[in-house]
């Protein structure tokens, strides 16, 4: 069982805004923190995990609840900030 520490609501936003919001939120988090992103853009189910894979974050779970989708991730060692 994973403790969800942070939650990010990206409902109503369309690609790529859920990814941008996720990226910006992750940059404020520490390694090992977990983040649950909720979205109404079904593309988020592909894009956020892809973004995680590229940037070294772990996708713990993805799923759908009605018209919403969610991605649970754990922040990797490099939070992706450029500087």
């Amino acid at each position: 069982m994973t403790d969800v520490i942070h939650e990010l609501d990206t409902r109503r936003l369309l690609c790529p805004m859920p990814v941008i919001k996720t990226q910006n939120k992750v940059r404020t988090l520490a390694t090992g923190d977990c983040l649950r992103v909720i979205s109404t853009d079904p593309g988020s189910l592909n894009d956020i995990p892809a973004w995680c894979r590229i940037n070294g974050h772990e996708v713990l779970e993805t799923g759908e609840q009605g018209h919403e989708v969610y991605v649970l991730l754990r922040v990797g060692e490099d939070n992706g900030a450029l500087f």
Binding site: C15, I20, P42, D47, A50, F83
Partner: protein, 361 residues
Amino acid sequence: MTEATQPIQRRAIALVSGGLDSMLAVKVMQEQGIEVEGVNFFTGFCVEGHTHAIRKKDKDKDKRNNALWVAEQLGIKMHIIDISEEYKDVVLNPKHGYGANLNPCLDCKIFMVNQATLMINKAREFAGDRGFDFIVTGEVIGQRPKSQRKETMPIISQESGADDRLLRPLCARNLPPTLPEREGWVNREALFDFSGRNRKPQMALAKHFGLDDFAQPAGGCCFLTDESYSNKLADLWKARNERRYELDDIMLLKVGRHLRPEPHYKLIISREEGENRFLEGYRYMFTSITTVSCPGPLALVDGNLESEEEVSQAAAIVARYSKGRVLDEVTLEVRQADGVARQVTVKPAQPDDVPLAWNVG
């Protein structure tokens, strides 16, 4: 080799749109041992996935973000940056004018390279040797009529502030050597001399690299190159009597059927369930109209209904696009942004009641 004599690992920021050209440009750099990170700018007008995410007819299409997908294929990091607010000035006041529609392509490219230049300057300040040495784009001379002409290439380099730190690997040999070439960070002879609209060289290079899946080339990645979209944006400015927009405005231009029965109001009518759900999210900002007595669309009223006649007119138009279009009467709910709602019953508009001229896009 001792640590002291090891060559410095050169690093580049690449503008990655998600299309083939920028993908190839990155690959060419990687082949030369350059470490590349990607940057993708979100202007608000990006075609990326928006419609796919909403409409049923596109439900079987990939809903991938192409820039992310490219980054994953190439094994590079990707920074997606929201520049939608700063980008307004590019759209509203393009120094170099528009293309065939409201596309400010040359100003856009200058702006994006400038943003990348600011990024590498800042990165160098903070990260020193772990900063970036130059910028890479997938531009090809003659590929685009406005931003990729031979005369405009130096304008982009100069006005963006990137100067000779801007390298276009796909057409570099048609241009004067840049700093990375002169310094020997990259081998100019291993760069390319592509030009023109013929995409066979890119296709051949993709094949050489074993790349067989990529976003359709030359399909356009910006709604501003689309005539219908540009017409809707021009209509918005005309109706408001000023050239301005918010992010929500330009998002809504991508969705639904847009009809303007009167200069002071426009209806945005959903075409299917997915658009219904999308427009639902805007009901707290607009008066909305939806059918009660039969299945039908959700419509947003952008502007004001100034009389009971206009309320009936708008309701009749919405009813026209409902399952009750052939009935004598349809009941609809007209709900204000604050949630106050009332019902009206109208005869659905007939085809001749909705002139083509009302269609703004």
